[in-house]
């Protein structure tokens, strides 16, 4: 099954780190990604720009509304994601716990709604 790990953290925290700490942090994510690839569980990942760059769009009665800012204002912001393919929720949870983001933020684990792609064996 595929799971999306949504990494939420207080993004100002990154700016408060020293350059060495920032470098260490990046290295931890590189190592984590490497481990996911080695395990054959990696499907994709990205880091997102800060929420100050966000724009929200919706169409109401045929009119497009464009608003400055993120959809939800909260203390922690969505800062990136990993898409992984693992046998079950327990495997997804243990990958989430290993993610560096779990130590400085919160990770939401969401199963992907399987549409037409064949799923992996569950048995």
């Amino acid at each position: 099954m595929q799971y999306l790990l949504l990494l939420h953290a207080e993004e100002a925290g990154f700016g408060r780190m020293t350059p060495e700490q920032q470098q260490q942090g990046m290295a931890a994510y590189m190592a984590y990604t490497e481990a996911l690839i080695k395990a054959g569980a990696y499907k994709g990942s990205n880091r997102l720009q800060f929420v100050s760059t966000a724009t929200t769009v919706r169409v109401v009665e045929g009119k497009t509304q464009v608003l400055d800012g993120p959809y939800a204002d909260s203390k922690e912001q969505l800062g990136g994601y990993f898409l992984i393919d693992v046998p079950d929720l327990d495997a997804a949870l243990s990958w989430a716990a290993r993610c560096p983001g779990a130590s400085h933020g919160i990770i939401e684990v969401r199963p992907v709604w399987e549409m037409t792609t064949p799923a992996k064996a569950v048995a």
Partner: protein
């Protein structure tokens, strides 16, 4: 040909298999499809077919295997009907293979795996015990609801949602690996204890649905022990519940009044259950891994021993509560420890050891806190304060017999 005797025999056989095998068959199917609701549906259809078929053709040699064969076929039919995308046929084929894999002799018992799925940390904590009672023991939502003092509709909805989550979030129906086992077993044991406690809050046993729940909880704990014999906390939980169960009859007088432990008639205690509890606790202690349930069982054991021998052991009890507090951090444990300290060092020392309700605001609505305060205050001679605490305790109690007991205490105290 159908005959009244054949009907009756078919029904009796089906009932017997249902009692013995329901949870096993649901677990077998669901472990392969991850679809608990689907497994339950397939099985209830299989039972319906059994009644017609067995009446006509006589009961099969192995009714359990017969039911499994039919339920497997129904499960595969349901899976095929539900899949519209041809691309998911790979997955379907794998599930079919897993379902069709020959089961030599006994059907593998995967009820423990099912219990771990029901008590998974991603399932809402309040739903874990009800889900276990339904998926493993086959209790219907109505009975579970009456036991947990909830509306059947609300319980049904929660159960449906939890089963959907198992399927959609991919919660495995599997016993976790060694690394995760201790933490995960904890949630299983807590859910069993929650079921037991719900049964236990009906001490007169007047409500059959709730009384049965303590038996179901004892059965589930027994099952965990058979399947995980090396887990001392599982042994501790069963020992704790047996100790409580053993004294059930002594907790009420003939006219339904509450009888505190110190005044209970020991001849009403179930000696066999106490002996079994002691043996389990002894077995657990050999394993050298202490835990919450073992400590609570040890406290019960100490109470029984004191009543039997007449030898005061309150400082030992206070020590056990201290150890329990260091594990749980629960203010409720502090209340009981304070009562034990009062027996050793006097009521003033006990009052001193009570948790502070200004630090733990939840205690202001907790009956045992006020009852303990009232008792300790009365013993220091602060009768007015004691009466006030007693009134609050009485107002918070939902069991009328305990309310009457508290009222008797209040009027017994001097003005």
């Amino acid at each position: 040909m159908s005959s009244p005797e054949g009907d009756e025999q078919a029904r009796a056989t089906a009932d017997a298999v249902a009692r013995k095998s329901y949870g096993k068959l649901v677990a077998f199917l669901a472990a392969r499809t991850r679809d608990v609701a689907g497994a339950e549906d397939a099985l209830s259809e299989a039972f319906a077919s059994a009644l017609t078929d067995w009446t006509r053709n006589g009961c099969p040699q192995n009714p359990e295997a017969w039911l499994l064969t039919v339920a497997r076929r129904k499960t595969i039919d349901m899976l095929r009907a539900a899949r519209r995308h041809p691309s998911s046929s790979d997955e379907l084929q794998l599930i079919e293979e897993a379902l069709a894999a020959p089961t030599q002799g006994e059907i593998p018992d995967e009820r423990l795996a099912m219990m771990f799925a029901c008590a998974h940390p991603s399932i809402d904590a309040a739903t874990r015990a009800p889900l276990m009672l339904q998926a493993v023991l086959g209790l219907d939502a109505k009975r579970i609801a009456s036991a947990f003092l909830a509306s059947p509709a609300a319980v049904s909805k929660r159960l449906v949602r939890a089963k959907q989550k198992i399927r959609q979030a991919g919660i495995p129906i599997r016993v976790p690996g060694r690394e995760e086992l201790p933490a995960r077993l904890d949630t299983v044991l807590n859910a069993i204890y929650a079921a037991f406690s719900e049964g236990w809050t009906d001490p007169t046993g007047a409500d059959a649905a709730r009384r049965d729940l303590t038996e179901e909880a004892l059965f589930l704990a027994g099952l965990v022990i058979v399947l995980l014999p090396e887990e001392p906390e599982a042994l501790g939980l069963l020992a704790l519940m047996l100790h409580a169960e053993a004294r059930r009859r002594a907790r009420r007088s003939d006219d339904g009044e509450f009888v505190p432990l110190a005044e209970q008639d020991q001849s009403l205690w179930d000696q066999a259950q106490i002996a079994e509890a002691e043996a389990l606790l002894h077995r657990a202690s050999q394993m050298g891994r202490i835990g919450r349930f073992q400590l609570e069982a040890a406290i019960q054991s100490a109470h029984v021993d004191r009543r039997r021998t007449g030898a005061a052991n309150w400082s030992h009890v206070a020590e056990l509560y201290k150890a329990l507090y260091s594990l749980t951090g629960s203010p409720v444990v502090l209340i009981n420890r304070a009562l034990a300290i009062a027996e050793v060092d006097g009521p003033a020392a006990g009052l001193n050891a009570m948790p502070d309700q200004t630090v733990e605001p939840r205690l202001t609505e907790y009956q045992p806190y006020w009852a303990a305060r009232s008792e300790l205050l009365a013993r220091t001679g602060a009768f007015q304060e004691a009466r006030r605490a007693n009134e609050i305790a009485t107002g918070l109690e939902r069991d009328p017999a305990v309310r009457r007991f508290l009222e008797r205490q209040r009027f017994a105290s001097p003005e």
